[in-house]
C-alpha cells in the first residue's frame, strides 16, 4: 500500500514491537490479527466457537444465494437455506439442548449476545435470509419469556425439534397493524391507540378479528405470536396469542415488494374469527403489553447486530474491490482517499460492534441500552454503506458488487423494531427519572 510502511520495514511497529524484550512481549500486540479475529478472541470460548461456526455457515449457505434471492424470492431456495439453518441449530437456539440447540458452553452467554453474534454473521452474508432466521427467534421469544412449561412443551419444543430434524418450523411476531405501527412500539402512542386486532370471548377460548401488517416471515411461519386487545378494552388489555398456520380464518392477504432484505417476506395477515384455545394464551390475559416491551428490549440489540452485519458486508465488498481494482496504473488501495475511506469504515464497524456487544452482554436487556445500540448501529450502517458505495464509484450501482444491496438492506434497520425516532424517545422514557433529577454528575 503506497504511503503505508510495509510490515517488513525496520521502522514498522510489527517488527519493532517483536524486538522488544521478553518482559514486554506479553504486554504488546506485536502480530495483531484481523479485527474480526481479535474481537472473536475477546469472547468467552463457547461464544467464540459459536461465532466461528455461524460465520462458516453463513458463508457456505447464505452468501452464494444472496444476490439471486434479492432479485427474486424463490420459495424453494429459501426453504432449502432455512432447512440448513434449522439443522445447524440456528432456528432453535433459544432453549438448551436437548429441548433446543444451545450447546452447554453457550448457556453461560446471555442469549441477546448469542443472538447478536448470530445476526451479525448471517447478515454480513445476506440480511434478507438473516432476517428470516432472526424473525423466527423473535416470534418464539414471547413464549420463552412467558416461561409457561405447557406452552413451551406444546409449541416451542416441537417446533425446535422439527427444525433440527427435518423441515423448518418457523415462528413470526405480529404486533404491527394497519393503523398502529409506532403506537404499538411505544407507550404514549399506545395510551391513545384504539386497537385494531381484537379478541372476542368464545367457549373454551378466544376468536381473533383484525389484521397485522409487515410481518416478517409471516407467510411461511408455522406459528404466529399475535397481540390483540380484549373486546371492549384498550391497549392495557393487550394479550399474546399463538395462532397456527392452518387455523380456520387465518390467511395471508399479501406479501410486500420491498426496497431490500428481499429474501424475507413482509406479510399482511388476516384474522377472521380465528379460534385460539385458552391454552394458547401466552403469559396470561392482559400481560401482552409487558411481554411486547420485554421482547422489544431483547430484540432491538440483535437488530443493531443486523445493521452491524450489513455494514461489515459492505466494508468487505469495498475491501475486495479496492484490493482487486486498478486505476491509472496503480491499485485502488494505493490511493490515500481510498485508504482513509476504508479506515473510517473500520472505525464505524468497530464502534458498532463494541456498542452492540456491550448492550447485549446482559441477562436483563434494558430499554435505553437496547435502543441506543439499535439507533447508533442502524445510522452507522447507512454511513458505512454510503462510504463503501463511494469507494466503488460508478461500479457501486451494479447488483453483482453487492454493496448497493447492502445499502438497500441497511435502510430497513432504521425503521423496524420501532423507527429510530421512536427508539430515541424510548431512551428518554426509561431514563426520565434520572434525567429529571438534577443536579447530575454529583456523587
Amino acid at each position: 500500500m503506497e504511503g503505508i510502511l510495509s510490515p517488513s520495514h525496520p521502522l514498522s511497529p510489527h517488527r519493532a514491537l517483536r524486538e522488544l524484550g521478553w518482559l514486554a512481549q506479553p504486554l504488546v500486540a506485536a502480530a495483531p490479527r484481523s479485527l474480526w479475529e481479535q474481537d472473536t478472541q475477546s469472547l468467552p470460548p463457547a461464544a467464540a466457537a459459536y461465532r466461528r461456526r455461524v460465520r462458516r455457515f453463513a458463508q457456505r449457505e447464505l452468501a452464494p444465494r444472496a444476490l439471486e434471492l434479492d432479485l427474486q424470492r424463490e420459495p424453494q431456495l429459501i426453504e432449502r437455506v432455512l432447512e440448513a439453518a434449522g439443522r445447524a441449530g440456528l432456528l432453535s437456539d433459544l432453549l438448551p439442548a436437548p429441548l433446543g440447540s444451545i450447546p452447554p458452553g453457550l448457556l453461560r452467554v446471555p442469549f441477546t449476545l448469542a443472538q447478536s453474534l448470530k445476526m451479525e454473521e448471517l447478515c454480513a452474508a445476506c440480511a434478507g435470509l438473516g432476517l428470516m432466521v432472526g424473525a423466527s427467534a423473535l416470534g418464539a421469544v414471547p413464549l420463552v419469556l412467558a416461561g409457561q412449561p405447557r406452552a413451551l412443551a406444546r409449541h416451542v419444543v416441537p417446533a425446535f425439534r422439527h427444525s433440527l430434524r427435518s423441515r423448518p418450523a418457523l415462528f413470526a411476531f405480529a404486533i404491527t397493524e394497519p393503523s398502529g405501527g409506532s403506537d404499538v412500539e411505544e407507550s404514549e402512542g399506545a395510551l391513545r391507540y384504539v386497537p385494531g386486532t381484537v379478541a372476542r370471548r368464545a367457549p373454551g377460548g378466544w376468536r381473533l378479528h383484525g389484521r397485522k401488517v409487515f410481518i416478517s416471515g409471516g407467510a411461511l411461519a408455522q406459528r404466529v405470536t399475535v397481540f390483540a386487545a380484549l373486546e371492549g378494552e384498550g391497549m392495557e388489555s393487550w394479550t399474546c396469542f399463538v395462532v397456527g398456520r392452518g387455523a380456520p380464518g387465518f390467511s395471508v392477504a399479501r406479501t410486500e415488494l420491498k426496497m431490500g432484505q428481499r429474501a424475507s417476506e413482509a406479510a399482511e395477515l388476516v384474522f377472521d374469527g380465528v379460534f385460539v384455545p385458552d391454552a394458547d394464551v401466552v403469559g396470561g390475559l392482559r400481560r401482552g403489553w409487558g411481554l411486547n416491551r420485554a421482547v422489544l428490549n431483547a430484540s432491538r440489540v440483535p437488530v443493531g447486530a443486523i445493521a452491524l452485519g450489513i455494514a461489515r458486508g459492505a466494508l468487505e465488498g469495498a475491501l475486495d474491490f479496492a484490493a482487486s481494482a486498478r486505476l491509472a496504473g496503480k491499485g485502488l488501495l494505493d490511493y490515500q482517499d481510498v485508504q482513509l475511506g476504508l479506515a473510517q469504515m473500520l472505525i464505524e464497524v468497530q464502534a458498532m460492534r463494541a456498542l452492540v456487544w456491550q448492550s447485549a452482554n446482559t441477562w436483563r436487556p434494558a430499554q435505553a441500552r437496547a435502543s441506543i445500540a439499535k439507533v447508533f448501529a442502524s445510522d452507522a450502517a447507512l454511513r458505512v454503506c454510503e462510504a463503501a458505495l463511494e469507494l466503488l464509484g460508478n461500479h457501486g450501482v451494479l447488483h453483482a458488487r453487492r454493496v448497493e444491496k447492502q445499502l438497500r438492506d441497511a435502510r430497513l434497520t432504521q425503521i423496524y423494531e420501532g423507527t429510530n425516532q421512536i427508539n430515541r424517545l424510548a431512551i428518554l422514557e426509561e431514563q426520565q427519572t434520572w434525567l429529571a433529577s438534577a443536579p447530575h454528575g454529583q456523587p
Binding site: L257, M259, E386, V397, L407, R411
Partner: protein, 384 residues
C-alpha cells in the same frame, strides 16, 4: 402541512422569471408528462421498459424538447445563455419529479445531440460517454482541465489502446437508454492531451451489467471496444473546451434531476404526514416528523440555491463540480428523511419513495463521486 417556503409550482424557479415562450411551453410539457412520463411512475414497483423510455424520447422530440430548431430556445441544452441553462435544468427537474429515469434519458440524449452537432457527426442518436476511462476519478485529470488552453493536436494515431481491455478488476461501464447508435467520448492520450472519438455501436462488445440502485430502466453495460473508432476532434484546446462545457452541463443536469426526484419525495411525505395518525394525532404534529420534514426542506432549499449559482456561471467548472459534490449528499439525506416520514410504508416499492432515494444514490455515483468532484475542483486550481 403547507409551508410558506415551499413553492406551489412544480417548476423550479431559479432567479429571473421564465420568458413568455418558456411559460407557454410549460403547458405543453405538462401534457407531455401526462402522456409519456407519468405512466412510468404510476406503478413505481415496475421497471420502465425500453419501449416506454423510447416513447419518452420520441414524444420529447416531437414537442421540440430534444433536437429542436435552434431558434425555439426550448430544446434541452441547446441555448447556452443563463436563461437557456435554467430552462434545461428546470425542464429536467420537472420531468424528474415524475421519473428520474426519464429525466436522465432526456438529459443524456440531449447532451449526445449537442456533442453530435459540435463534432459534426451524422448519427441520429449519439450517446455521450463522458467518463469512459478516466473521467473525474480521483481528480487525476483536474490539472489538465484547469490548465490554460494550449492549442496542439493530439497525435493522429495516438498511443491509445483499444478501450476496455481495461484495468484489472474494473471494467468500463456505460449507462444508456435506447435508442443510441454511437458513443461520443473524450480520451486522454497522456495527462494533458485530450481528443474526441466516435465509437459506432456495432463495433462494441457490450455485456449487460444489471444495477438495482435506482434509475430503474436505464441499461448498464460493461464495454469493450476492440477498435479505436473514429477520431473527431484532435485539437487539444478545442477538445478540452468542449469537455469542460459538457462536464458542466452534465453536472447541472444531474443535480437538477436529483432535486426534482427529492422534491417529489418531500411533497409526498408532506401529504402522508398530513393523513397518517399515530400517537393520537396526525404525525405531522409530532416534532420528530417535523424535524424530518424541515430538515429535508432545508436541504432542498440549499440545493436550489446551489443550482441557481451553478447555472449562473456554468463556465466556472471547478466551482460547479465543487457545488455538485455538496448537493448530492444533501439530496440523499433529504430523500431519506422523506422515506422515514412514511415509516414501514416508505420501504415498500409501491409507494415510490424508496425509488427516489435509490435514484438519488445512483445520481451521486454517476459522473464522479463527491470525493472525485472535490479533488478535481482542487486540482483544477493547481492547473491554473
Amino acid at each position: 402541512m403547507t409551508s410558506p417556503r415551499t413553492p406551489r409550482s412544480r417548476w423550479l424557479e431559479l432567479g429571473a422569471p421564465p420568458s413568455v415562450e418558456q411559460r407557454n411551453a410549460r403547458g405543453a410539457v405538462e401534457r407531455y408528462l401526462e402522456r409519456a412520463v407519468r405512466p412510468l411512475a404510476e406503478r413505481p414497483e415496475r421497471v420502465p421498459t425500453a419501449a416506454q423510455l423510447g416513447e419518452v424520447r420520441r414524444l420529447a422530440e416531437e414537442l421540440g424538447l430534444l433536437a429542436a430548431p435552434a431558434a425555439s430556445g426550448l430544446g434541452l441544452w441547446e441555448e447556452p445563455s443563463v436563461a437557456g441553462c435554467r430552462w434545461s435544468v428546470g425542464l429536467l427537474h420537472r420531468v424528474a419529479r415524475e421519473s428520474a429515469t426519464a429525466a436522465l434519458c432526456l438529459h443524456h440524449a440531449a447532451l449526445g445531440l449537442l456533442l453530435g452537432r459540435r463534432l459534426g457527426v451524422e448519427d441520429a442518436a449519439p450517446w455521450p460517454w463522458l467518463y469512459a476511462e478516466l473521467g473525474l476519478d480521483k481528480g487525476l485529470r483536474g490539472a489538465a482541465l484547469g490548465a490554460p488552453p494550449v492549442s496542439e493536436a493530439a497525435p493522429a494515431e495516438p498511443e491509445l489502446a483499444p478501450l476496455g481491455a481495461g484495468e484489472a478488476g474494473r471494467p468500463l461501464l456505460l449507462g444508456a437508454a435506447e435508442p443510441w447508435s454511437a458513443l461520443l467520448l473524450p480520451r486522454w492520450s497522456d495527462a494533458r492531451r485530450l481528443s474526441w472519438w466516435r465509437l459506432p455501436r456495432a463495433t462494441l462488445e457490450l455485456t449487460p451489467a444489471p444495477h438495482a440502485l435506482g434509475l430503474d430502466g436505464l441499461s448498464t453495460w460493461q464495454v469493450r471496444a476492440p477498435r479505436l473508432g473514429e477520431l473527431l476532434l484532435e485539437d487539444v484546446a478545442a477538445a478540452l473546451a468542449l469537455y469542460r462545457e459538457v462536464l458542466a452541463l452534465d453536472a447541472l443536469g444531474l443535480v437538477g434531476i436529483g432535486l426534482g426526484a427529492t422534491e417529489g419525495a418531500l411533497a409526498a411525505a408532506k401529504d402522508y404526514a398530513a393523513l397518517r395518525r399515530q400517537g393520537g394525532k396526525l404525525i405531522v404534529e409530532h416534532v420528530a416528523v417535523r424535524l424530518l420534514l424541515s430538515g429535508a426542506e432545508a436541504n432542498v432549499l440549499s440545493v436550489q440555491a446551489l443550482l441557481a449559482d451553478m447555472t449562473l456561471r456554468p463556465e466556472a467548472l471547478a466551482r460547479v463540480l465543487a457545488l455538485r459534490s455538496v448537493a448530492h449528499p444533501q439530496l440523499c439525506e433529504a430523500a431519506s428523511h422523506a422515506l422515514q416520514v412514511f415509516g414501514g410504508t416508505g420501504y415498500l416499492q409501491d409507494t415510490g419513495i424508496e425509488r427516489r432515494l435509490r435514484d438519488n444514490y445512483h445520481l451521486r455515483l454517476l459522473a464522479g463521486t463527491p470525493t472525485d468532484l472535490r479533488l478535481t475542483a482542487l486540482a483544477m486550481e493547481d492547473g491554473r
